[in-house]
């Protein structure tokens, strides 16, 4: 196996998050569409996973992912952040980020396998489905007696889908204990706050009632993300699936996008792009 060499230095990881946020804003601006809010909010977590925590092989990409940790993005609309970390860890050429959402691109609006984009193992976008797929992949790893872990990110709006609770039941019933799921708890969805639209109430208590072990973390504090997920790794293989509630701010890193559902699925205009980029230093070089 040709595993990605983890970036250990916290300052380096922080530098990467600035560049990924720049990528997100530039991709969404370039396509005049896409979902910047949730992408910015999950940037710190995905950078920690792909650049440090996951044992994975960008090249050559293996769809099966045997002997690798696997990540699924169940809330597929935040594809820009996934595309950026995939490109920047070497799954596909960085220059392809410029094709996001454009005709003949492999970077579809929502992640897809049809175009053969390395790093994508299932299509997501219609919500609630990637969670089940991740559980299935984790089951396959158990059948194959692998120690690797499957990670999956869900949105806190997404957990309003009934399939999430079917899957939550299944994972604990079948002791899918090589699975670390995370919910991006930003409290926002398209029509407003989650509290207004469809109150999720006590997510921790709900998952505990479904037989999961639930951890919490600040989804923007890199040392805390690393510590929490490393702790979660030690809890794996003990018969219980792990859920991490990642408390985040939608639009994190761009002041005028922070904390509001208004930037869920809206692209910045050119003036807004400049304003956003001014807050995000170019640390690794733009695509």
């Amino acid at each position: 196996m040709n595993y990605y060499t983890p970036v250990q230095d916290i300052k380096e990881l922080e530098k990467i998050t600035f560049q990924v946020r720049r990528d997100i804003i530039r991709m969404v601006h370039g396509a005049s569409s896409g979902h910047p809010g949730g992408s910015l909010g999950c940037t710190d977590i995905l950078v920690c996973l792909y650049f440090n925590l996951m044992c994975h092989q960008p090249k050559p990409f293996s769809m099966q992912g045997k002997n690798e940790d696997i990540f699924y993005l169940s809330n597929g609309h935040i594809s820009p952040v996934l595309y950026s970390v995939l490109a920047r860890t070497g799954y596909f050429p960085l220059s392809e980020l410029a094709t996001f959402r454009k005709i003949n691109s492999r970077l579809q609006g929502h992640p897809a396998t049809k175009e053969g984009l390395e790093g994508i193992r299932v299509a997501t976008g219609s919500l609630g489905q990637g969670f089940s797929v991740a559980i299935g992949h984790a089951l396959a790893k158990k059948l194959d007696k692998e120690q690797n872990i499957v990670y999956v990110m869900l949105g806190d709006g997404e957990i309003q889908e009934g399939q999430i609770w079917e899957a939550a039941n299944f994972a604990s019933h079948h002791k899918v204990d090589n699975l670390i799921a995370m919910i991006d708890v930003n409290g926002q969805q398209i029509d407003g706050t989650t509290q207004e639209v469809m109150n999720n109430r006590d997510i921790k208590a709900k998952f505990e009632a479904f037989g999961w072990q639930v951890l919490q973390m600040n989804g923007h504090n890199i040392p805390e993300i690393l510590d929490t997920i490393r702790h979660a790794q030690t809890l794996c293989h003990k018969g219980i699936p792990i859920m991490i509630l990642a408390h985040t701010i939608m639009g994190k890193g761009v002041d005028f996008m922070e904390g509001t559902h208004k930037w869920h699925g809206v692209a910045p205009n050119t003036a807004q792009l400049e304003q956003a980029l001014a807050q995000l230093p170019e640390t690794l070089g733009d695509y």
Binding site: A123, S132, A167, F170
Partner: protein, 309 residues
Amino acid sequence: MEQKDTRSGFGAALELLGRENPNVVGLCADLTGSLMMTAFKEKYPERFFQAGIAEANMIGVAAGLATQGKIPYAATFANFATGRVFDQIRQSVAYSQKNVKICASHAGLTLGEDGATHQILEDIGLMRMLPNMTVINPADYNQTYLATLAIAEYTGAVYLRFGRPKVPVFTDINTKFEIGKAITFKQGKDVSVFATGHLLYKAILAAEILAKQGIDAEVINIHTIKPLDTEAILDSVSKTRCVVTAEEHQKNGGLGDAIAQLLSEKFPVRMRMVAVNDKFGESGTPDQLLQKYGLTEQNIVNAVLELLK
């Protein structure tokens, strides 16, 4: 003639696959006995996953298992295997190009007494509309057995549809089952009768009745509705120049629809469809229902006579 249910053909073949192919895994949504999966479950418990009454998740889990090279046979009643989980099949299986076998029992009217809630007559249409989806509806126990084995050797999403009641076992277990290859049961020159699933046997009976009236019907089994064996269909139709289709499904979206689409573009001919005509079913015995909804050998005979009038 021996009578056996098609679902038992599925169960027997799955048990064999369990023994011969370590990648085959089974999933079922609380209908393990009805799907005849008990033998597989008992012999290969580590490769059987009870999904509970939660079909959407079952389809997703199957897609995840397939991603790492497993060959999941995800099974439940046809209604819950298709209509209930259409979007899960569309996104996580068909669009994502996953090697998932969706195995559906109790399809159609012959489910019987449970009534229309469970008698799905739209599943072939739903599944054949999806790109990347293969749709197979075997005719009897033997053909279901062979189809269940054949789809393990094929990489790609499959919808395998079978039924509940005991029906005559009339196909040869030693015939080769090839996905997408029609089988001619009787050669003839006056009319092409294309039949799938339980209606194939009715079509053979109809051809015998027609023969007594001097009408030489060709009976061709289209077990694979997608991809259609266009060559076999066009060959037959170019000879007979008229077509009757027979299936236990709505006219909308079914085998007849698929063949009409082909012929209207390539070789327009006169055609009749023996199928359910835009109605829901109801409770009753399978035979009563086939009678009431017009899916008997006499309905096929009548359709042929009407065409040849």
